[in-house]
């Protein structure tokens, strides 16, 4: 397996507080890795540093062997890292299609004209928003906005997809659809890093999990094993989920 992402001794300080404490892990091409941990354990901060939204205070992030730590977010995006956000961020003044076109037009391929439109429609189809390209973003329901965010992430042809609680707030039926969607991406060879609390989804999708607590990595390995580790159970899952 080829390694796609390598994180080495990654650290983040906010003022006096160390939010992420020397985290290291790797992701291979085609892998789907779950990043778990209690609220405030630093998962989203790690995601933010990978996508370039936050500068790291120390350590290294390598994408395909290239050091991307310290790079501006848009340059990381062009190198094939796409993401969704914990609280949905759609572009409210634009149509559904324009939301996706934005990513296609500035992604690695820099499409324009008919190509960008085609790409956007294809991505919308893929997440189940086909035929709704002319609606205004603000009209969409919460779950459709989540879909739209995924479509936008896909439109930049990512090599690494970062999903931040993308499945949160879905009921079991919706969850099943969502899991199906990510499985499809997996099948097509997409590499995914999943921050998620929904354990059903983690079990169904992730071959491997990294668990954080209070900014440190407390477990890393095959999902089933990790979820039964006593420290993970104590800090994160609670007895009822063990």
């Amino acid at each position: 397996m080829t390694q796609l992402l390598e994180i080495r001794d990654l650290r983040k300080r906010f003022g006096g507080l160390t939010a992420v404490h020397d985290i290291s892990f790797t992701i291979d091409v085609g892998e789907t890795v779950g990043l778990l941990g209690p609220n405030g354990s630093g998962k989203t901060t790690v995601l933010n540093m990978i996508s370039g939204l936050l500068p790291a205070s120390g350590g290294a992030i390598l994408l395909n062997g290239e050091k991307i730590v310290g790079m501006a977010a848009h340059r990381i995006a062009v190198r094939g890292v796409a993401r969704t956000f914990q609280l949905v961020r759609v572009l409210p003044s634009m149509s559904v299609a324009e939301n996706v076109e934005a990513a296609a037009a500035f992604g690695p391929e820099k499409l324009w004209g008919a190509a960008v439109r085609g790409k956007a429609l294809a991505c919308l189809d893929r997440v189940g928003l086909g035929g709704r390209e002319n609606e205004m973003t603000a009209e969409l329901t919460y779950i459709d906005q989540k879909r739209l965010e995924l479509a936008r992430a896909l439109a930049s042809d990512p090599r690494l997809l970062l999903l931040d609680e993308w499945l949160a707030g879905l009921n079991p039926t919706e969850l099943a659809t969502g899991i199906e969607l990510i499985s499809d991406l997996k099948r097509d060879g997409m590499t995914v890093l999943l921050v998620e609390h929904v354990m059903d989804a983690i079990r169904a999708l992730c071959g491997r999990c990294v668990v954080m607590n209070a900014g440190r990595k407390i477990a890393d390995g095959e999902t089933g094993n990790v979820l039964s580790e006593p420290e993970v159970v104590r800090a994160y899952l609670g007895e009822s989920h063990a």
Binding site: S51, G52, L53, A72, A73, H74, R75, A77, V78, A82, R83, F85, L87, V88, R89, V90, L91, P92, S93, M94, S95, E98, E101, A102, A103, A105, F106, G107, P108, K110, W112, M136, A138, E139, Y142, Q145, R152, S156
Partner: protein, 326 residues
């Protein structure tokens, strides 16, 4: 180029030709009016070029306008006129780049006040320089050409500005600006270089504004900082663009033309109650035409893009999330 676009261009071309030949048929006062009109349409359009899509409300308009005018005043006896204009544009560009680079972190009202402060700072520095280095404050501009030439130059600049605005709207750059205006974080994750995009547009807008100041300056014969750095100009430009609709090609013009004429008419008919009537009209416009004249025109004359205002109810749904985000 499709048929409709061709038609629009044809009409615009005819209108442009009519405007270009207007001085031959009009009196001096009407030419003066046209100078004011084209000047403000250009200012408002140039302002909206940057501030419309990005929603960065700039009050630095008069800083650049004044730089243009002052450059002409300082150099008009030293350099040939085209070079004076080029020098003005270059100085405007340099200042815009410095300012643009330093303000990239600011947003919202902080940017507004920063740009206002900038205009005042430039004015104070120019004053201080003149007082302490050249020992004189006022400068004279004696040019050999009349108002028609000023008008034609402004008309050309206006046309170029509108063409640039149109081109950007159909271009990747326009999309980038809209995304930035909606959400900078999303923009950067889409691969948009926000800093460069914003800087480029700010500089472009500033250079056009500088040129308006440079072209108009010979109208006044005498230039001093208090005259050319009059902050009212920044406010008027902003109000015109916002009133018309800063997100549309014709929006700023639709705000600038009626407002300019309204000012002119009011100050002539009601010189003593001008302020009161103007103020009341202003308030009325805010209440009756939310979203600007262009949005109103679109609602009235044809369905185009739904206006975000009409979706207030839905956006109330997502407001919690939106606020949590802030």
């Amino acid at each position: 180029m499709n048929g409709r676009l061709a038609l629009v261009f044809a009409v615009a071309l005819v209108a442009l030709a009519a405007l270009a030949f207007a001085p031959f048929y009009l009196g001096r006062y009407q030419i003066g009016l046209l100078i004011g009109l084209t000047g403000y349409v250009t200012l408002a359009s140039a302002w909206a070029l940057f501030s419309g899509p990005t929603r960065y409300v700039s009050l630095a308009t008069v800083a650049f306008f004044g730089i243009g005018a002052y450059t002409v005043a300082a150099l008009n006896e030293v350099l040939p006129y085209p070079l004076v204009l080029a020098a003005a544009a270059a100085i405007g560009l340099a200042v815009a780049l410095v300012v643009g680079l330093s303000t990239l972190r600011l947003a919202g009202v902080y940017f507004v006040i920063f740009t206002f402060g900038l205009a005042e700072l430039v004015r104070q520095l120019v004053t201080w320089y003149e007082v302490n280095v050249t020992g004189t404050l006022g400068r004279y501009i004696f040019m050999s050409f009349g108002p028609e030439q000023i008008y034609w130059q402004l008309l050309a600049l206006m046309t170029i500005t509108l063409l640039i605005s149109w081109w950007i709207g159909r271009n990747r750059l326009g999309l980038a600006l809209k995304v930035i205006g909606d959400d900078e974080v999303v923009a950067t994750h889409c691969g948009i270089d926000i800093a460069r995009t914003k800087l480029a547009l700010f500089a472009l807008s500033a250079v056009i504004i500088t040129l308006v100041g440079a072209i108009q300056a010979p109208r006044w014969t005498y230039v001093e900082p208090g005259i050319v750095f009059n902050p009212t100009l920044s406010f008027l430009t902003l109000i015109m663009a916002l009133l018309g609709g800063a997100n549309r090609l014709w929006g700023p013009a639709l705000g600038a033309v009626p407002l300019f004429l309204l000012f002119e008419w009011l100050s002539a008919r009601f010189p003593d109650h001008y302020s009161i009537i103007l103020g009341l009209l202003f308030i009325l416009i805010v209440f009756v035409l939310p979203g600007g004249v262009a949005a109103f025109a679109e609602r009235t004359f044809g369905q185009r893009k739904p206006d975000p205002q009409t979706y207030g109810a839905e956006s109330a749904l997502s407001r919690d999330t939106a606020d949590a985000r802030r």
